[in-house]
Symmetry: C2
Subunit: 540 residues, 2 copies
């Protein structure tokens, strides 16, 4: 029984009345050709077309650009090789019409026609348009006013294919979809400081994000433990602060990652968390950090020293470089978990606070107030919620990321103050015992609405992020720890809540079957995702 | 703070007084040349030898056999390539003596001389001798009366090498070790029914077990969800019961796995769990299973039907085949989690129980009493604890595996009845939030001794097993879920308890540093283990 109990405790599985009866086979057999995240509007008929890789073509009708060309190339490969190969391995007979059941067979899929009605944008942004229309028939059509919408639509199109039960043919059902995201910022935070993550796995992560229609890669690139960002202006930062000389990201690595992401409609936002979480900066620049005291004795180095001009000079120079390598207008300056006790213990800072009648929280505010203007013109800062909590005056275009307990009150406070926010509190992927259903349920807008009944606050919640902190993940397990758990967050952020579902307690049962298909799909496309829910298998 | 709190909650990390001070770099920098599991007696001096792959030779002085030849070949490769390559990548200068500090350098390591004093045994067994003596000097010696001891000693020898701080040379310290295991059965259970695990990953698992001196691979090969054992006598069992025709273990696969294990001093014990956990048998042989009723309605199939002769006939035939493929004398017949409620619900069984004045637990006893004699002569059964609990009369050479709550009372009951047992209750690796420290502490003999103060009971605890049930692990994450968490169990089972340690609450701090080195060592040798404790990195 213990095995069963442990399993149920860990995963909260609902069991049938006769729970002594276990059926052979997978717990949740995968669906066939269902899309993840679920489209906003979808009509799917029972009739289907057969896919033959040698016959199928993708055409663009008017606009084109390099992002579109590269997306078509990429999805043609996925459709023909990752999907088409499943059948081509077997003997394909010329005429299959006879095996199609009950007149549902409507012919071969010939073509996908893509219509992009406006010029391509060069780089994805917070307010990009991601809506698209997709109609599947012998000549299928995909249209969008935006290159980003086309990319999302191509992903959806690729997910509609499925293997027939006899595994002899690839089918796609007659379908109409109109789709757009519920939230405009759908992010994944990856921490590359606690453990180094290779460029290869970052690119894989971007592939998986695209498969889940996530659009922001929040790169928590440096932290206390290591400084893998290889600055050209300050090479000593990584020379002394990286774990190893092989464990760094060069300008070329970063450019490659940014370009790879751009082609998938994904923004890359760097985070240089200050003034806390900066021990690794101290390996080369101990003078940046505050000496922490116990009585009269220095016992170590704490957060950056907010009273030294040299701190701000280095940050300005460094941020300038970072912003030339990362084109996104948003820049995350952190501001969380500042060890105020260290600042309090330091005699010089005590003196400074006394002379200026400042509390230690004021000191944090002062630091952030001086740091934010160091960013380039037109930059928009993102900060962790402490910066708001400690009363720093922030411009209206600052995004505040909510990550602590009491998140509903916190969100209401931030929204009421006229700010926009990102939600992360319940989406920490380092909570290792949480499985995808734990991440699936909480919808931040719904939570705020339930308390306030105030619809006008809701648009201020522009999105959220799943956060993969790096203490317990490295290059070997990061992919299977993130996926498919982050897929739950991705769907929550993309798809509209089903009104019939009490989002607090119940996940529609179809979701369990659908995430099995989605996980197998990720695996086929090179993402070593872990099993989502229980016993089962994927067919290559 | 939440990040910190979550982290501390999950991993029970002890922090320093000034917990606001975080140092850059790994949480626990790896040790250098420390052995896992810890040897019983070890004297390690500060003087060291330098390893040069081109100079080093392994010699055997008298006895030899194919297991020894293959072990020498394997460890020569590990020492020269997995260890030696780390230095050979860099420029090796001819004379290094000048860099050795304070006269600690004692010369080059020339040779390892292996003395095996008795003839090789062909197959490892419960009472095999695993003790060895190892002396490291310019001409090092390893001696044992047993091939299994030599294999354990070679593993230890390979673990003593380390990279110098400047990474310019491989060193090994002057060392004397006398070593033997605390428990004679040190197992790992792998479940290949909830998800299929490829032969490649089973072989990797055996490699990792050898690195951790584990000596029993408990192969929980079939269960409710799938039947991947490809029987020659009953091909329909896997034809209909496996997840897919590609997801089976053939005779050749099994022979390959058994031979690979044998060469590493690892026994392979198959488990065919009966009468419960057998839904997948029903895909081809529904007649084997009991019809479960709700009122007058059959609602599904439950455990095997204990009243039908045909059940026992099939089991006898199948077990005969299994026992020709698996040479170990032990055979695990399961007997856990039988859905007695299903048996109770079935009218025929109700009738049978009534006519024979049997309770439903008696029925379970009756089943096990009839199944155990189906094994070949001289076989020894292993059963889950329920079989003992339900009063089945068991021969003294039956091993009882304890896995439920109240394990101390259960162990005392089993031992007092004169039986031997395996302990697993606290070593379930599917408890995903448990990390290696959670598995490290409980010592089964110590637990029994604390309650009974009776030393005579203790030898009846012959060992234990870490259990990796397969609900949430498949080919993609099984290796990193098992390792290094199972390493904690491996060390508990091999090494003697340190008398100065209160095993209930405190893990010696050196263990944290040592498991980091051991994890990096496994990674270098091809085992994609996960980070053991926190931020850090491994040098390839």
């Amino acid at each position: 029984m213990l095995k069963l109990i442990i399993f149920l405790m860990c995963f909260g599985v609902i069991f049938a009345n006769n729970f002594w009866i276990v059926n052979p086979g997978p717990k949740y057999p995968p669906t066939k050709g269902e899309v993840w995240p679920k489209p906003q509007y979808q009509i799917k008929e029972k009739t289907f077309y057969i896919f033959n890789p040698s016959q199928f073509k993708v055409k663009t009708t008017n606009q084109t650009c390099s992002i579109l060309t590269s997306a078509i190339e990429r999805y043609s490969y996925v459709i023909s090789n990752k999907i088409g190969r499943r059948i081509r391995k077997r003997k394909v007979r010329a005429h299959r019409r006879h095996i199609s059941a009950e007149g549902l067979y409507k012919g071969h899929l010939n073509e996908l026609e893509i219509t992009l009605t406006k010029p391509c944008e060069g780089y994805p942004h917070l307010n990009m348009d991601e809506n698209y229309n997709l109609t599947v028939s012998a000549t299928s059509t995909l249209s969008s006013p935006s290159i980003w919408g086309v990319i999302r639509g191509l992903e959806t199109f690729s997910q509609l294919f499925y293997l027939s039960d006899d595994r002899n043919e690839i089918r796609i059902n007659t379908t109409q979809i109109y789709d757009f995201p519920r939230y405009k910022h759908r992010g994944l935070l990856l921490d590359t400081s606690r453990h180094f993550i290779s460029v290869t796995n970052i690119l894989k992560t971007l592939d998986a994000m695209a498969m889940n229609k996530m659009n922001v890669f929040h790169w928590h690139i440096v932290d206390d433990q290591s400084f893998p960002y290889k600055s050209e202006k300050f090479p000593e930062l990584s020379n002394r602060g990286a774990f190893d000389s092989s464990m760094v990201y060069t300008k070329e690595d970063i450019e490659r990652i940014v370009e790879y992401a751009r082609n998938r409609g994904i923004r890359v936002i760097p985070e240089f968390d200050v003034p806390g979480h900066t021990a690794s900066w101290g390996s080369s620049h101990p003078d940046l950090l505050t000496e922490c005291y116990e009585g009269n004795k220095v016992v170590g180095l704490g957060p950056m020293n907010p009273t030294k001009n040299t701190t701000y000079i280095l940050l300005r120079e460094l941020f300038q470089e970072v912003q030339t390598w990362f084109p996104d207008r948003y820049f995350h300056v952190g501001g969380d978990e500042v060890a105020l006790d260290c600042w309090k213990s330091n005699p010089e800072l005590q003196e400074y606070m006394k002379n200026n009648t400042l509390t230690v929280a004021d000191l944090h505010a002062l630091f952030m107030r001086r740091v934010i203007p160091l960013l380039a013109n037109n930059s928009k800062p993102i900060v962790w919620q402490e910066v708001f909590d400690e009363g720093v005056k922030l411009t209206k275009d600052t995004l505040i990321q909510v990550w602590k307990y009491n998140w509903i009150t916190e969100m209401i406070n931030i929204l009421s103050a006229g700010h926009e926010l990102l939600f992360s509190s319940t989406w920490y992927l380092d909570a290792i015992k949480s499985e995808w259903p734990d991440y699936y349920s909480p919808d931040p807008r719904q939570m705020v609405y339930d308390v306030t009944q105030n619809e006008t606050l809701l648009p201020g919640i522009v999105g959220g992020e799943a956060c993969m902190w790096g203490e317990m993940v490295d290059d070997r397990n990061v992919i299977n720890r993130v996926w498919p758990r982050a897929s739950a967050v991705a769907e929550r952020l993309w798809s509209t809540l089903d009104d019939n579902i009490n989002y607090k307690s119940k996940i529609p049962s179809e979701t369990y079957y659908r995430i099995e298909e989605h996980t197998c799909r990720m695996i086929r496309r090179g993402i070593d995702a872990q099993p989502p829910t229980g016993p089962g298998f994927c067919i290559a």
